[in-house]
C-alpha cells in the first residue's frame, strides 16, 4: 500500500514537472532525436495541450454519463423495459464503430475541431457506463425494493433514495472505465485539429522525431493512470457512505 502511494506520488510529480518545465527534461529525450531536431515539443505549450486533452475527455464523459445513466434508468423501469434490446444495440454500435470512422463521418458534416472528437468520445464511452448502470439497478435486492414500496415511497423516491444510491458504486466504476479508455482514444482527435496530446504524437510521426512521439504517449499514459487512481479513491469515499453489504 505504501509503495503504491509512493509510486502514485512520483507519477504525479513527474507529470506536473514535465508539463510545467519541459525544457529541464531535454537531456532525457535528446538521445532519441536525429539531425539536431528539438528534443522537447516546441510548437505549442504542453501544459495547455494536456489540459485541453483532459477537458475534452471530461466533457465527453459527462455527456456519456448523463445519457447512459438516463438510458439505463429508463430501460429498467416497467414502462421502458421493452426498449432494453434497442438501447443495448445502439450503445454497442457506439462502442464497436471505430472512433476514427466517427471522425471521418462527422467532419464533413460539422467541420474540423473539438466537436467531432467530442462526438466520437461520447459514443465510445457510453457502453461501460450503460451496462454498469443496468447491472447496478437490476441487482438491487428484491426485499429492499419491496420494503421501499411497502413503506410508501413513490416510484421516483424509490429510484432516487434507494436504487441509484445502491447502484452508485457500479455506476462510478463504469464512468472510470469510460474515462480511462477515452484518455487514450482522445489522441486521435488531433487528426481533425482538436487540441490535445495527439498533436505532439502526430508532429513526432510527421517529422520522424521519436522524442515527440514518446512525450505525447507518456503524458497521455500518465494522465490515464492518475485519472484511474483518482477515481478509485473517489469511489472508496463514496462507497464508505453507500454501504452495499
Amino acid at each position: 500500500m505504501r509503495i503504491a502511494s509512493a509510486l502514485r506520488f512520483i507519477a504525479l510529480a513527474l507529470l506536473v514537472a514535465f508539463l510545467l518545465v519541459p525544457q529541464k527534461f531535454a537531456p532525457v529525450f535528446a538521445p532519441l532525436t536525429q539531425f539536431g531536431a528539438p528534443a522537447i515539443y516546441d510548437q505549442g505549450n504542453l501544459l495547455s495541450l494536456a489540459l485541453a486533452h483532459l477537458g475534452t475527455v471530461c466533457v465527453a464523459a459527462a455527456a456519456s454519463t448523463v445519457v447512459a445513466v438516463g438510458l439505463g434508468v429508463l430501460v429498467t423501469r416497467p414502462a421502458g423495459r421493452e426498449f432494453l434490446p434497442l438501447s443495448r444495440t445502439l450503445v454497442n454500435i457506439g462502442q464497436t464503430f471505430p472512433p476514427v470512422a466517427v471522425l471521418a463521418v462527422t467532419v464533413p458534416l460539422i467541420g474540423f475541431g473539438e466537436k467531432p472528437t467530442l462526438i466520437a468520445l461520447f459514443a465510445y464511452g457510453l457502453l461501460p457506463i450503460f451496462e454498469n448502470t443496468i447491472v447496478g439497478l437490476q441487482t438491487t435486492p428484491p426485499a429492499v425494493l419491496e420494503a421501499a414500496s411497502g413503506m410508501g415511497m413513490s416510484a421516483r423516491q424509490r429510484l432516487l433514495s434507494v436504487e441509484l444510491p445502491l447502484a452508485m458504486p457500479l455506476i462510478l466504476e463504469g464512468i472510470r472505465l469510460s474515462l480511462v479508455i477515452n484518455v487514450g482514444t482522445a489522441t486521435i482527435g488531433s487528426t481533425v485539429a482538436a487540441k490535445g496530446m495527439g498533436e505532439v504524437i502526430i508532429a513526432g510521426l510527421l517529422s520522424n522525431n521519436t522524442a515527440f512521439v514518446l512525450q505525447g504517449g507518456l503524458v497521455t499514459a500518465l494522465m490515464a493512470v492518475l485519472l484511474y487512481e483518482g477515481m478509485v479513491a473517489f469511489e472508496r469515499r463514496v462507497c464508505r457512505t453507500v454501504q452495499s453489504e
Partner: protein, 311 residues
C-alpha cells in the same frame, strides 16, 4: 376494522385469491396461515395495494383503500417482510425514520420517535442508532424492521412471514415481543405464516387458506374443536390436537382455590406447559403463582385434562 370484500386476484387463467371476504377486528392479531402457493401473501399485499385486486375491495375503517394514491395509503400501513428489506446504505436510525420523513415530520419529532422505538426494541440508541444494518445480528435486524414499520404510528401493521428467517430461540423471543408491542400500541396486526404453531401462539383469529380460498376463519380453539374442512384438520394436526388445545389456555385461567405440594407454575404458562411440569415432577397437581410469586390457586391433573377435549 378492516373489511375484505370479495377480493379476487387472477393472473391470466390462474386464480391466486378467489373471492375472499373477511372482517379483521381492530386492536387484534389476525393470522393468515396456509401452505406455499395458497395465496396468503397475495391476499396480504392486496390490503396495502402492493398488488391491485382483479375484483373486490378492501375497506379500512369504512374507507375504500382505492380512495387515495397507493403510496400515500402505504404510509399509513406498517409493512414487515421476511428478510426485513432494510436499506443497506442507511443507518439504523435513518431506516426507522423512513416513513416519518416521507410524511415530513419535523426532525425533532423524528429523532424523538426513533429514540423511543430503539428503546422499545431493546436496542441502545447510543450503540445502534448510527450502525448500518449489516453490523447487526439477524434478530436485531428483524427488530429494526418492525420498528421501521411502526415508526409513523400506523393503526394497521401487515407482516409477511416476519420471523421466517430467524432461528428457533430468537423467533420465540420475537414472537413474545410482538405480543407485547401489540398490547402496548394497540395496533391491528395481520400476519401471514405457514407455521401453524406461530398462528396458534399469536392469532386472536386465524384464517386457514388453501388454493386461493379461506377455508375457515375463526378463533384458534374453534379451528381445533370444530374444523369445517378436512384440510383445516390436517393443517392443525390431528395427532396432537389435544395438546394444541391445552396450549391455548393459561394456568391462571383454570386455577382453582387451594394449595398444592406439587411444582410451581407461572399463571401465564399454558396448560400444556403446566401438564409437562406435573408429569415431570410425578405429582398430581401444581401450585399456580403470579409473576411476583404470590400463590393464586392450584391446578389439578383432572382440571387440565378436562380442557384437552372439545367442550
Amino acid at each position: 376494522m378492516i373489511a375484505v370484500e370479495n377480493l379476487t386476484k387472477r393472473y391470466g387463467a390462474a386464480t391466486v385469491v378467489n373471492d375472499v371476504s373477511m372482517l379483521i377486528e381492530s386492536n387484534s392479531i389476525t393470522v393468515i396461515v396456509g401452505t406455499s402457493g395458497s395465496g396468503k401473501s397475495t391476499l396480504l399485499r392486496m390490503i396495502n395495494r402492493l398488488i391491485e385486486p382483479s375484483a373486490g375491495q378492501v375497506l379500512i375503517e369504512g374507507k375504500d383503500t382505492r380512495a387515495e394514491p397507493a403510496h400515500l395509503l402505504r404510509r399509513r400501513i406498517g409493512y414487515v417482510i421476511q428478510g426485513n428489506g432494510l436499506f443497506p446504505h442507511r443507518t439504523v436510525a435513518e431506516n426507522i425514520a423512513t416513513v416519518p420523513r416521507l410524511l415530513r415530520w419535523s426532525s425533532a419529532r423524528v429523532a424523538a420517535r426513533v429514540d423511543e422505538l430503539l428503546r422499545v426494541f431493546q436496542l441502545d440508541p447510543g450503540a445502534y442508532a448510527q450502525a448500518f444494518p449489516h453490523q447487526l445480528s439477524g434478530g436485531q435486524q428483524q427488530r429494526v424492521g418492525v420498528a421501521r414499520a411502526l415508526a409513523a404510528e400506523p393503526a394497521v401493521l401487515l407482516m409477511d412471514e416476519p420471523f421466517g428467517a430467524l432461528d428457533p430461540i430468537i423467533r420465540a423471543k420475537a414472537q413474545e415481543d410482538l405480543l407485547d408491542i401489540q398490547r402496548r400500541f394497540g395496533t391491528t396486526i395481520v400476519l401471514v405464516t405457514h407455521d401453524m404453531d406461530e398462528a396458534f401462539l399469536l392469532g386472536d383469529r386465524v384464517a386457514v387458506m388453501s388454493q386461493g380460498r379461506v377455508l375457515q376463519y375463526d378463533r384458534p380453539t374453534a379451528l381445533l374443536t370444530r374444523p369445517t374442512d378436512p384440510f383445516v384438520s390436517r393443517m392443525t394436526g390431528l395427532a396432537d390436537r389435544a395438546m394444541r388445545l391445552l396450549s391455548l389456555t393459561t394456568a391462571g385461567e383454570v386455577a382453582a382455590p387451594g394449595g398444592s405440594s406439587g411444582p410451581q407454575v407461572p399463571a401465564a404458562a399454558s396448560l400444556r406447559d403446566a401438564l409437562s411440569e406435573i408429569l415431570w415432577s410425578g405429582a398430581d397437581s401444581a401450585l399456580v403463582v403470579d409473576a411476583d410469586g404470590t400463590p393464586r390457586g392450584h391446578l389439578t391433573l383432572a382440571a387440565i385434562l378436562a380442557h384437552g377435549r372439545p367442550a
